[in-house]
């Protein structure tokens, strides 16, 4: 067969193709394109670390430089996945150490990363540049120290040790260990996330003082991101900002101090000097008196994370209305409807809004935040497309308004705090409201439901939500029909997570084939029987059907008994071998 182009030309053309989707499409054209593509692919994203084995990846893509892996299911964020479930990255590191000595980037999310793994990383990759650990756990500062020590000399301008979100944290600066690893005072780094608000802080706060680290942060002209730990006191901030006036993203430490005019003016001066500042976060333990110090920087701010700032609506309004160019706002429900009205009036560029609950376990509700706030923002902000909203009441009418106002909505996550809450005006379920959302917002790719919902809402979703990729359902539905609508109707569905819904065997078994087109399905506290799980496992060899049950072996109970938790995902690697004692894979008879 004559080739139209020599491989080198193909390769050169392919070097302009970056997205996974496009690359995957190229590789399907013909064998020679497949070959050229696989040798030239440099980055890969593996959304489920158990969907494929390290060996398979390495065999197909021998020249990767950047690997991204995700481990646990999303509901692990809410403590629904017991400890020890899995997601250990070590086998991947071990395999890649041999196969990819030139690996530069590793991005892990919801994985278990031990110190051993970190040490192996630090020894194995000569050109390592970027390590991102999001929502990972299992490591200590020892592991990080190993990374820093062994990679330090080789970190280039792009290197960064990124923040550790959620479950586990370590700061980069260890108390005494910093003395040994002095040389990596992050001179080359352009992003420093002295992240975790949680831990290790006193050491950092203590050691970061003029006498110990006189030049810290060093005059690092490439430092773009700096997020401080909660215990870094406010009076250190001006100095720090003066050393890094080119900062683009800043996370403050504690944002409180006794009101002293000289600290205030020093801070305000420092902020006005930061002409590149686009993103602000932190604001731990905020004292409102000091907020105006930030105002000089507000006109450039596009992203503001006030979601830990326990300040009241008037102060929030004053701050937010200064930020005319705001695109992203994360805030507590202290902002209230009045604050959201002000937001809608001032921030016309707003694209993403997240409102978190200040008192999530308080049944009564402590703030004047209702559905009206969200409606206002949907009316006033034409670019708003991503919403996460916690509230205590909702109406179908409000949802319909929002849907009609914002047909460009792409991510809509509504959490009405009390499960099964009705429309408080009509006392109806919220089916019609969410139905309007999926009907009008044709580009919607992520949806989280709450409130009282019957099977009707799932019918709407199955009918209209053709671009929906991720759906989260809790305390909803009447029976199997609901699940059936979703599985049979949502063409683009990749991730479905369900808890506490009366969905059973029928819908699951009837739509078994659909499951192979999705990344994963999570069902907990539903009505899927052990028998159905076994059947599914037997019939679908390319699915891993994992039953999680802390009550003991599922076969010690009748087959009709519901399983506690079910996690089904497609895989070309077969059942995994690292399951803990409370997870069973339903095997296909060989």
């Amino acid at each position: 067969m004559a080739y139209s182009f020599p491989e080198e030309v193909l390769e050169h053309v392919f070097s302009f193709i970056h997205t996974d989707k496009d690359r995957n499409a190229i590789s399907l054209v013909c064998k020679s394109w497949y070959e050229v593509e696989r040798w030239s692919r440099r980055r890969i994203f593996i959304g489920n670390c158990y969907a494929v084995s390290p060996g398979i990846v390495i065999r197909r893509f021998p020249e990767l430089r950047s690997v991204a892996l995700k481990g646990k299911p999303h509901f692990a964020d809410f403590n629904l996945v017991p400890d020890g479930w899995g997601g250990n990255v070590y086998p991947w590191i071990a395999a890649m150490a041999m196969a990819y000595p030139m690996l530069e980037e590793l991005r892990l999310k919801r994985m278990v990363v031990t110190d051993e793994s970190l040490e192996l990383i630090s020894r194995s990759f000569k050109n390592f540049k970027v390590l991102v650990l999001s929502s990972c756990e299992g490591f200590s500062t020892d592991g990080l120290a190993a990374i820093a020590a062994n990679c330090s000399g080789r970190f280039s301008e792009e290197s960064r040790i990124s923040s550790f979100d959620l479950l586990s944290f370590a700061t980069f600066f260890l108390s005494n260990q910093t003395k040994r690893y002095n040389r990596f005072e992050l001179k080359p780094a352009c992003e420093v996330d002295i992240g975790s608000p949680i831990s290790l802080i006193p050491d950092f706060a203590h050691h970061w003082c003029p006498s110990t680290f006189p030049a810290w942060p060093p005059r690092c002209p490439s430092l773009r991101t700096l997020r401080l730990n909660r215990a870094v006191p406010l009076d250190r901030l001006p100095n720090l900002l003066r050393r890094a006036p080119q900062l683009v993203e800043l996370g403050t430490g504690a944002y409180s101090a006794e009101h002293r005019p000289e600290v205030f003016s020093s801070l305000a001066g420092a902020f006005s000097n930061c002409k590149e500042l686009k993103s602000l976060s932190g604001f731990w333990d905020v004292v409102p008196d000091y907020l105006p110090a930030v105002y000089p920087a507000c006109s450039g701010i596009t992203s503001l994370n006030l979601s830990y700032a326990t300040i009241q609506s008037p102060d929030l309004i004053k701050l937010v209305t200064q930020c005319q160019n705001l695109q992203r706002l994360w805030v507590l429900d202290y902002i209230e409807d009045s604050g959201l009205d002000a937001l809608a009036a001032s921030c016309k560029d707003l694209q993403e809004l997240r409102v978190f609950p200040s008192e999530p376990y308080d049944m009564e509700g402590n703030v004047a935040l209702t559905e009206q706030g969200l409606v206002s923002v949907s009316e006033g902000c034409p670019k708003l497309h991503s919403v996460l909203y916690f509230c205590r009441q909702m109406t179908n009418a409000a949802l319909v308004s929002i849907a009609k106002n914002r047909p460009n909505m792409t991510r809509f996550r509504l959490c009405i705090i009390e499960p099964r809450t009705r429309d408080y005006q009509t006392l109806e379920p919220l089916d019609v409201g969410f139905g309007a959302i999926v009907e009008h917002c044709k580009e919607l790719h992520r949806l989280s439901l709450s409130g009282l919902l019957t099977d009707r809402v799932f019918e709407y979703i199955g009918t209209h939500a053709k671009k929906l990729e991720m759906l989260s359902v809790a305390f909803a539905g009447d029976g199997d029909l609901g699940l059936h609508h979703v599985l049979s109707g949502c063409k683009s569905l990749r991730k479905l997570e369900i808890r506490d819904c009366p969905f059973g065997d029928k819908a699951l078994l009837a739509n078994a084939a659909k499951l192979e087109t999705m990344r994963s399905l999570w069902m907990s506290s539903c009505s899927v029987s052990f028998g159905a799980c076994k059947l599914l496992g037997q019939k679908m060899p390319r699915l891993n059907v994992e039953v999680m049950d802390e009550r003991g072996r599922p076969d010690s109970r009748p087959e009709s008994c519901s399983v506690e938790k079910l996690y089904i995902y497609r895989s070309v690697a077969g059942p995994r071998s690292d399951m803990p004692r409370f997870v069973w894979t339903m095997k296909t008879p060989s």
Partner: protein, 320 residues
């Protein structure tokens, strides 16, 4: 110099602060906390010692052995004793929480000192348990008081929330870190005005001649000696003149003479306003009774203490 009878509660003969700290921890621990603090080593006690610095002061050198270990690994075992509900009801979160989080491995490094300095040093209005509280809570991924929903949840459209609701695991869907941070911040808001909340008891402390007042959380201390020490540090900047003349001892522990000099000696007398509105001399009643009745503190110039505490006045005169 000392008259044991009068100074019973201040306790001249008491052990140095390090051991005091351990008493403080154990006595103050809320009953809901599992007693992992028993394994605390002397090392850890030092870390729990209250060090109240003025704003901007640095925390002292940390012990090198205290490395850090990460939550996921070490603390998962500890979660059993915790529930979010009880975390909210902590007695004066930070310091106790810290001790409970320490496990024998000594791998924890907490923000008690750094945090407490920041918090207390600024005499903030809000009662802040401090970051240590969150440190405890956050990593332990506490499982809220669980009420497992029935697996076949009835499609009962009339199911409405009962008034007293037990928490459901993982609902509302908020990440653990945020949950725990907000739980402790909520405490801050409640107790902001120094009301006698569960967690803390902030009272104003004024000192004659000082340009501004401070606030202290009485719940943190378990005896007069600790309170005195804290006040001494807080207001030391205003008494430099006097201190100098008595020869400043090492600041690590308390010394009788310094304490006495500062508060009962040459110039100043520590007094408090009780529930009835009367100004009383600090030190007469048992500590618990004192904390319950004290509304505010005042470091009074000796010359103004006439009629307030005749014995104190006599001492002043004797010293001079």
């Amino acid at each position: 110099m000392s008259i044991p009878l009068e100074h019973d509660y201040i306790g001249l003969s008491e052990a140095p602060s390090m051991e005091r700290a351990s008493d403080k921890i154990s006595s103050a621990s809320s009953s809901t906390i599992s007693s992992e603090s028993e394994k605390s080593t002397a090392l850890n006690l030092r870390e729990t010692e209250l060090r109240l610095g003025l704003p901007g002061s640095e925390s002292p050198e940390r012990k090198p052995q205290l490395g850090v270990s990460l939550f996921g690994k070490d603390l998962e075992d500890k979660t059993n004793g915790y529930s979010l509900g009880s975390l909210k009801g902590f007695v004066s979160g930070a310091k106790r929480g810290f001790s409970d989080a320490i496990d024998g491995s000594g791998k924890w490094v907490f923000s008690v000192n750094g945090g407490s300095e920041v918090d207390l040093g600024k005499g903030a209005k809000s009662c802040m348990p401090g970051p240590a509280m969150k440190d405890v809570a956050a990593p332990s991924s506490p499982k809220p008081v669980q009420e497992k929903k029935p697996q076949a949840s009835a499609a009962n459209e009339h199911a409405s929330a009962p008034a007293a609701k037990a928490q459901v695991v993982g609902w509302p869907p908020i990440r653990s870190f945020r949950k725990n941070t907000m739980a402790s911040s909520a405490k801050n808001n409640e107790d902001a005005e120094g009301k006698s909340g569960l967690g803390c008891l902030y009272v104003k402390v004024s000192m004659d001649g000082a340009p501004y007042l401070r606030k202290v959380d009485l719940k943190i201390y378990c005896n007069y000696m600790e309170l005195s020490s804290a006040l001494e540090k807080m207001f030391s900047c205003f008494t430099i003149g006097q201190c100098g003349s008595h020869g400043l001892p090492g600041r690590d522990g308390l010394t009788e003479s310094h304490l006495m000099d500062l508060l009962h000696g040459s110039e100043y007398v520590l007094t408090y306003e009780d529930k009835d509105g009367d100004w009383m001399l600090v030190g007469d009643v048992p500590w618990e009774m004192f904390t319950e009745s004290c509304k505010r503190l005042r470091i009074m110039k000796g010359s103004e203490a006439i009629g307030l505490a005749p014995r104190a006045m006599e001492k002043c005169k004797n010293r001079n």
